[in-house]
């Protein structure tokens, strides 16, 4: 599809020499003198466009040439309009260039003006011109001459709603009402396919039809068909296409309060009376009238969408119309709450019709939004809606990228409201995470935003386990997906073991737990290690590795959130989970290392915030730190565990810390240190990094400084260390420099411990020493005070 030829064309266009370009310009100028543009001219204009657009740096056209293009914009031939607009879009507008506003702007010229607008003034002028054309257009004219009006207007609204004046808004509202509700119900003249009939045929006017072929019995909408269309029917389509945006821009709740001041009391009572019934709304002001007509249009669309369309594209259009109709109804109900009572029966019926149809899942999201916004007012039970949206969609449709995107977006935009009105939302995280497990790169952004809302004290532990097992969930979803697809599509032998395991009844429970929809049935499963073994070949599946890469990010979000809401008891439990799971992870190489890094970071943080956690969990921490195997297999985490033990196992952090506790900790660490510095690492492992050994030595020194009887033991070890290393290389340290660093540290600690009283304050300084105090510190305060006084008294 993309060939070398295209690549070289672009290269040529970018690298064209200035001289050649100037020659090209003059050739073009000559070609454009004539009225008609031949094929050569068109080709040359295209080449010019390529030259201009291929580079991000702007090229300036010669003035005469640019003026010629501006003139060409108003040419009656569309090809001229398109080409000149395309060229002019890629150059800078002429200063003082003004397109002649008296002419009727064609669509391409309007587009150009839009893209070159530099101020609100420009946009306002454009709107004024368009609306003037709309009002004063001749009755005969090419059918599409004004159809671009509404799209251009809509485009201006997006960026600058203030460009329309009150009068202009009223004019447009009136026109919209006419087109939406009062478009012709007869078919237009069919566009001639050329051929036999030269004159206009006199035919009986035929009424418009519905999508299922039956004759239409009500006003014209986008879901009506005919052989040909009249102009107002076209405008019906354009009007509906921009209706929601118009309502959102001008009919939001803040703007209605402004209008309320202008309305007289009589009008006010008329409005409320008419809203409650659907009788004639001729007495309503334009804004309210538009709202009423929009309401009617949407109700008709919902009704029309129940018909069985003949063509597939029309069925898809019906779905899109349903989405739009429900959104518009939601919008008008937000504006006027009294409409809720008229609307809810229809929405409820729609939900009833569609809730079991998975192919209509995307239509159910706006319906859910409607229930969320107005369910309380109407006192309607919304339980079923959430069961479908949170309980069913992620289970069955986790692999639909559009549904995932829209559902997560719905959650993000309505988070406050959902947390308030749908408290069960937080229980559905196992289900919602399926979107992430299936397509991590696309979903991770949304989950970074949503995860904090899913963290509650009640489910925190289960959530942590679930996050750590996301790669397993990813593998399971792949297996589930493969299992339902035809087996012949898989090459024989690939994923044989895991697929078998997935289908094996004795392992069913494991997979079912992963695939659960709601939290609360248990923090994690017993046979995690079995699961990991069964999924060992999944470690190189792309979906699983992509998922594994997102887990560290989510863990950070989790921990950042949990520290704000958890009490010490929960944090203690989480530390236990950290230690336990550090060896219970799916074996994806980089994954395990990354998780350990995240664990280390947050272990540190938690202990810093709540130092007494260390004494509380000393038993488990010591068990972890006392196991030599952990030095080699979990170096980073091990280092941090040892560090927190050394730092926070003291009476100043928690009064329950006894001498015997310190001693037993000391002994456990001492044993490990002896072991790793007396022999080579076990086969297959690398030598422990100097950091581990230094941390162990420092921890021992800190503990000894708190219980002075231990000091002789440390000193003994440190002197032995010095002796051993003097004799040259050792089996447990491969690098000479590392060894020097270790020995130096050892000597520092040894000399420090010779003055036990000092040692404690140096190794574990009390908090008021390390926290900067500035003017509150008497040592620092005096110079500051003197300096301040000096500058005040010496006022030169």
């Amino acid at each position: 599809m993309y060939s070398h030829a295209s690549e070289s064309l672009i290269k040529q266009a970018r690298e064209i020499q200035e001289s050649e370009l100037q020659k090209f310009y003059s050739r073009l100028m000559k070609m454009l003198q004539g009225k008609e543009l031949g094929h050569d001219t068109v080709d040359s204009l295209q080449r010019l466009h390529l030259i201009l657009s291929a580079t991000k740096y702007t090229r300036t056209l010669p003035l005469e040439l640019q003026k010629r293009f501006v003139a060409l914009l108003s040419s009656p031939a569309e090809q001229h309009q398109v080409l000149s607009a395309a060229v002019l879009r890629e150059t800078l507008p002429l200063t003082g260039q003004e397109l002649n506003y008296n002419h009727q702007l064609n669509s391409h010229a309007a587009g150009l003006l839009l893209s070159q607008a530099v101020s609100r003034g420009d946009l306002s002028s454009l709107c004024t011109q368009l609306l003037r054309n709309l009002e004063s257009r001749p009755s005969e004219g090419p059918t599409h001459s004004l159809m671009h009006t509404l799209p251009v207007l809509n485009s201006v609204l997006t960026h600058s709603p203030e460009c329309l004046s009150e009068d202009q808004m009223t004019l447009v509202s009136k026109k919209l009402v006419d087109w939406l509700r009062y478009a012709s119900v007869m078919q237009g003249v069919g566009t001639s396919s050329g051929g036999f009939f030269t004159g206009p045929r006199s035919r009986q006017p035929v009424p418009i039809a519905e999508l299922d072929g039956s004759v239409s019995g009500d006003f014209f909408t986008v879901l009506c068909v005919g052989q040909g269309f009249t102009e107002d029917q076209w405008m019906n389509v354009y009007s509906f296409s921009m209706l929601r945006h118009w309502l959102l821009t001008y009919h939001s709740s803040c703007s209605t309060t402004v209008d309320a001041d202008d309305r007289s009391e009589v009008d006010g009572s008329v409005v409320s009376m008419v809203s409650a019934t659907s009788s004639s709304s001729r007495l309503l002001p334009p804004k309210e009238r538009l709202r009423e007509k929009a309401f009617q249009y949407c109700q008709r669309l919902i009704e029309q969408s129940d018909r069985k369309a003949h063509k597939k594209t029309d069925t898809e259009l019906q779905k899109a119309c349903l989405v739009e109709a429900v959104c518009i109804l939601d919008c008008v109900c937000v504006e006027d709450a009294s409409l809720v009572y008229r609307t809810f029966p229809c929405i409820k019926a729609l939900f009833g019709r569609l809730s079991s149809e998975l192919s209509y899942a995307r239509v159910l999201l706006p319906i859910a939004q409607f229930y969320l916004n107005h369910g309380e007012i109407a006192a309607v039970d919304c339980e079923n809606v959430w069961k479908v949206v949170f309980g069913r969609f992620p289970t069955e449709l986790f692999n639909d990228p559009f549904l995932a995107h829209e559902l997560l977006r719905f959650l993000r935009l309505n988070l406050e409201s959902i947390e308030l009105r749908v408290p069960q939302y937080t229980r559905y995280f196992p289900n919602l995470l399926k979107f992430l497990a299936w397509d991590s790169p696309a979903m991770v952004d949304d989950f970074v935003d949503l995860l904090p809302s899913m963290v509650t004290t009640g489910t925190a532990v289960e959530l942590l386990h679930t996050l750590l097992d996301l790669p397993c969930l990813s593998a399971t979803l792949v297996l589930q997906h493969r299992s339902t697809c035809l087996p012949i599509s898989e090459p024989v032998g690939r994923s044989f073991v895991s697929l078998d395991a997935f289908r094996n009844p004795s392992f069913r429970g494991l997979f079912l737990f992963l695939l659960r929809t709601e939290a609360g049935s248990g923090d994690t499963m017993d046979r995690l290690s079995t699961l990991h073994e069964l999924l060992v070949e999944a470690a190189d599946w792309p979906r699983v590795t992509q998922c594994a890469r997102t887990v560290p990010v989510l863990l950070h979000v989790f921990f950042n959130t949990i520290v704000t809401i958890a009490d010490e008891k929960l944090l203690a439990h989480l530390i236990l989970v950290l230690l336990e799971r550090s060896s219970l992870l799916l074996n994806i190489p980089a994954y395990i290392k990354e998780i350990h890094r995240v664990f280390s970071c947050h272990l540190l943080r938690l202990c810093k915030l709540h130092p007494s956690l260390v004494v509380n969990q000393s038993h488990e921490l010591l068990e972890f730190a006392g196991s030599t195997a952990n030095v080699y297999s979990k170096e980073e985490l091990y280092t941090h565990v040892v560090w927190v033990l050394g730092e926070y196992l003291s009476v100043s952090c928690d009064s329950r810390c006894s001498v015997s506790l310190i001693t037993s900790c000391f002994e456990a660490l001492e044993a490990v240190l002896f072991e790793i510095t007396s022999s080579a690492p076990p086969t297959g492992m690398v030598c422990p990094a100097p950091k581990v050994i230094n941390t162990l030595m420092s921890a021992l020194a800190k503990l000894a400084s708190r219980s002075h009887d231990l000091i002789p033991r440390v000193s003994l070890f440190l002197s032995k260390l010095r002796t051993v290393t003097r004799s040259g290389s050792v089996a447990w340290c491969s690098d000479e420099e590392d060894l020097v660093a270790i020995v130096t540290r050892g000597e520092e600690l040894w000399s420090l411990l010779k003055a036990p009283g000092v040692a404690q304050s140096v190794l574990t300084p009390p908090p008021h020493v390390i926290a900067p105090q500035w003017h509150r510190d008497t040592n620092v305060a005096l110079p500051l005070q003197l300096r301040a006084l000096t500058s005040l008294t010496h006022s030169q």
């Binding site: 599809m1 740096y57 569309e78 607009a85 893209s115 946009l123 999508l211 269309f229 790169p441 696309a442």
Partner: protein
């Protein structure tokens, strides 16, 4: 409203580094994003054009990355189709949507819907509150027309040399970025006009 429509590469291009994408066609709708915001008021028109091109390139890069990750995870092989098999190419195409955060690169959050047809991607960047069902249908329709009218399944470079055809296609099916609710008869009528233009 649709902010922009792009056609860009989603395969490795020798002249570019790994993650880059070559933009073959881009059309940004509406007034310039920066004009009416405070931040870019002092920019000259040249700088504004440059900024717009950079934004379009940023979108193309993000979509390229999304496409390659999606193809990697689905493990599907890209099958080259011949000219004449446009419907098959479209059926086989992968699709998805990328969330573009506010500021990256447009001032407010947008959604980039993409359709990956072999080595090229067709992307529609939609504003928030846009009807994505309608956008998806429109994107497929636009892609089908582009593939057919510009013979994109072949080795030609018509996408570069006949971009005015895409301009006309967009002016009918996506005028000024407006998504249209077109039933098959309205669509047929517009497509006839487009075909008539292309025949010239």
């Amino acid at each position: 409203m649709v902010r922009c429509f792009l056609i860009h590469t989603v395969c490795p291009v020798s002249a570019l580094s790994a993650g880059e994408s070559r933009v073959l066609y881009s059309r940004v709708f509406g007034p310039d994003d920066g004009v009416l915001s405070e931040r870019h008021r002092e920019l000259s028109p040249e700088e504004r054009r440059l900024l717009q091109k950079e934004k379009v390139a940023a979108v193309a890069r993000q979509v390229r990355s999304a496409v390659s990750l999606s193809r990697e995870s689905s493990g599907r092989l890209i099958v080259e189709t011949m000219p004449g098999e446009e419907n098959l190419a479209l059926q086989d195409a992968d699709c998805g949507v990328v969330r573009l955060r506010a500021g990256d690169p447009f001032s407010e959050e947008t959604s980039a819907l993409w359709l990956g047809v072999q080595s090229l991607g067709f992307t529609l960047v939609c504003e928030p509150h846009e009807n994505l069902l309608l956008a998806e249908g429109t994107l497929r329709n636009l892609t089908r027309h582009c593939l057919e009218h510009l013979h994109m399944l072949g080795q030609g470079s018509e996408v570069l040399l006949k971009s005015n055809r895409i301009d006309v296609l967009l002016s009918r099916l996506l005028p000024h970025g407006q998504l249209l609710f077109l039933n098959h008869r309205f669509a047929q009528s517009l497509e006839k006009e487009v075909a008539a233009y292309m025949a010239k």
